[in-house]
């Protein structure tokens, strides 16, 4: 008799939990996601950093501190198994004055306490060797060799694909209205597509974590959005940085970061601005926010590319819990609710460790957990044509001429890759973008959007008026020409 666990939210937490649960016999996993694709909340709009683990005071934030370093180690295996773009470039925390130097030493000690390996305080000369593009003003830097960056949206896609391949069920464009409780026990989810009976509910709903938990009767915490804005530059830009650069952190934020992404772009940001509980979808960028990011970033490096050459600016929201630490726990009442929220930084890093903790909590609730005999640990990624050698490209085209039709010239994405993405469930332009990088280059889709539109029509059979950028309401075109003059 199987036990049904429903996970609310297909962000990195929900997807990691689903994948972990899919390892077990007789656990029926359902992931319910309100957007048209996985990972479109907090998970797609952050810096993608896999933190080393020195930031969080284990006394103040025990969950953050413990799960971060563990997550850092777990990601190494996962990115390899699931073929997630990752760059283990290490990070430098920069100190510009005496007080910051003292903070660096505190960070290092804290890192040691958190069992982080390889932390070293380096003088300016050594820092410059690691990262030639550093500002002249830095005094010292703390080097954390175990830090890296991953592609956060590809990570969620990969985790979710693997979970589904191992039996998890994904319900997209389905909004959970409430968690149903009867006689002190979770009974299921009320969604806009009907009732989903569930024995256990993992609340991984990110920015809505407190609102959803309240429907189950647990409202002893609140989540507030904290906005961070970014500049993204093309891969070919100069100068870039080789190492992920931080400033000495403040209580609310690790500050603006200058880093390469796992795909080789230059990413600058985020700042940190607190918003109200009514602004949980306020992902708009602002002039002030971007100005602030730029001001901070220019202090850290000796030079950046011209600001206006950024190919995209965007903003993400962190789900800040009022207590500061992650909220990962169960309750006597309602029994069966597992809250997994407030996953602000280092949420992405901690995700795999959070998933393990969820499994532990379920075990603690009496759920029998037997590992499956056969569980597929790895996933075949969509071929990245642009990364192949000339001979490999040629062979691939021989086997399938669609690999020879370039759809996105900026990122060298071929028709076959786009078709594969659609076959894997990409039904919107953004879904294709996040799976193939089509539209992520210097022209930001100017040339390829019409072709992607045509491909979506052809492969899904949908009329062109129904093709969207990111789900219902974001249709690309209004119809066909041939109407009256206004």
């Amino acid at each position: 008799m199987s036990i049904r666990v429903s996970v609310v939210g297909a962000g990195v937490i929900g997807a990691a939990v689903a994948r972990e649960l899919s390892k077990y016999e007789d656990i029926e996993v359902h992931v319910v996601e309100r957007e048209a694709d996985v990972g479109w909340g907090v998970s797609k709009a952050n810096t993608g950093i896999i933190h080393a683990g020195y930031d969080d005071d284990p006394e103040m934030y025990p969950l953050r501190a413990g799960l971060c370093r563990m997550g850092n180690e777990l990601w190494r295996g996962i990115v390899a198994q699931l073929h997630i773009p990752a760059l283990w470039c290490g990070s430098l925390v920069l100190a510009f004055d005496e007080q910051e130097r003292r903070t660096l030493e505190e960070l290092r000690e804290r890192g040691v306490r958190n069992k982080v390996k390889g932390l070293k305080i380096l003088d300016r000369g050594l820092c410059l060797e690691l990262e030639p593009n550093l500002s002249d003003e830095i005094l010292e830097g703390m080097w954390a060799p175990t830090a890296g960056v991953i592609s956060p949206y590809e990570a969620v896609v990969a985790l979710a694909e693997n979970a589904v391949e191992n039996g998890a069920r994904l319900h997209l464009e389905t909004t959970v209205k409430s968690i149903c409780v009867k006689e002190g026990r979770v009974t299921g989810l009320e969604t806009d597509n009907g009732f989903l009976r569930s024995d256990f509910v993992v609340n991984a709903s990110g920015l809505f974590g407190d609102l959803l938990s309240k429907t189950a009767g647990v409202d002893d915490f609140s989540i507030r959005p904290r906005k961070g804005e970014y500049f993204l530059f093309d891969k070919d830009v100069s100068p870039k940085v080789d190492v992920t650069l931080f400033r000495v952190p403040k209580p609310t934020t690790k500050g603006v970061v200058v880093t390469q992404t796992a795909d080789g772009n230059l990413l600058v940001g985020p700042n940190a601005r607190d918003l109200s509980g009514h602004e949980r979808d306020a992902t708009n960028t602002t002039r002030d926010g971007l100005d602030e990011v730029w001001r901070e970033a220019t202090k850290m490096v000796s030079s950046l590319p011209p600001r206006h050459s950024a190919i995209r600016t965007f903003a993400g929201l962190r789900p800040e819990p009022d207590g500061g630490d992650f909220i990962i726990r169960t309750y006597d009442e309602p029994f069966g609710l597992l809250n997994c929220v407030g996953m602000r930084s280092p949420g992405l890093t901690s995700a795999p460790a959070v998933a393990l903790k969820v499994v532990d909590m379920l075990r603690g609730l009496g759920v029998p957990l037997t590992l499956k005999a056969h569980w597929k640990a790895s996933r075949e990624p969509i071929v990245k044509f642009r990364e192949l050698s000339t001979a490999e490209k040629d062979n691939l085209i021989s086997s399938n001429p669609s690999y020879g039709k370039v759809v996105c010239s900026c990122e060298l994405v071929t028709e076959a890759e786009v078709i594969e993405a659609i076959r894997r469930g990409a039904g919107t332009l953004d879904s294709i973008k996040f799976r193939t990088r089509a539209g992520m280059g210097r022209c930001q889709g100017s040339f390829c959007v019409p072709k992607l539109l045509a491909l979506l029509c052809r492969e899904t059979g949908k009329p062109v008026e129904e093709i969207t950028l990111k789900g219902s309401g974001s249709e690309l075109v209004k119809g066909r020409v041939g109407r009256e003059l206004t």
Partner: protein
């Protein structure tokens, strides 16, 4: 009938003379500001019987693309643009379609034809077939 003063910028050449036209009903009384006779002609016509060329699209069946472009062979009265556009939007051509092909002859008695400006081959199965959008 009272005279009215109209100002317009001549578009015949890059000089862009600011021309003042005194007009009463459909009669041009005076034209000032033009540097050459072409400006005089333009201003006069523009105030009495302005003309424009129309370029727009026409649907194509079984073509490599779902529409093709057409134009009037000479400028037509500005006031007829909307009607001509409506007439054109009711036409459906069958691929293959050739540049210069006649779509409409002497449309609304203007003396202008509407011709195809972009050839369209008959359907193929490559991505070039945007007919998935038809």
């Amino acid at each position: 009938m009272t005279a009215e003063l109209r100002r317009l910028t001549c578009i015949v050449c890059p000089l862009g003379c600011e021309i003042r036209v005194e007009i009463s009903g459909h009669r041009v009384l005076r034209v000032e500001g033009n540097a050459c006779p072409r400006g005089l002609n333009y201003a006069t016509e523009e105030c009495t019987s302005p003309k424009r060329s129309l370029t727009t699209l026409v649907r194509v069946n079984n073509g490599a693309v779902p529409v093709t472009s057409v134009r009037t062979t000479k400028p037509i009265p500005k006031g007829l643009l909307r009607d001509v556009h409506r007439i054109i939007s009711e036409v459906v051509l069958e691929a293959p379609v050739h540049r210069g092909q006649l779509v409409l002859k002497d449309v609304l008695g203007t003396g202008a034809d509407v011709i195809v400006t972009r050839s369209v081959k008959r359907i193929s199965e490559s991505l070039g077939n945007l007919n998935a959008l038809s």
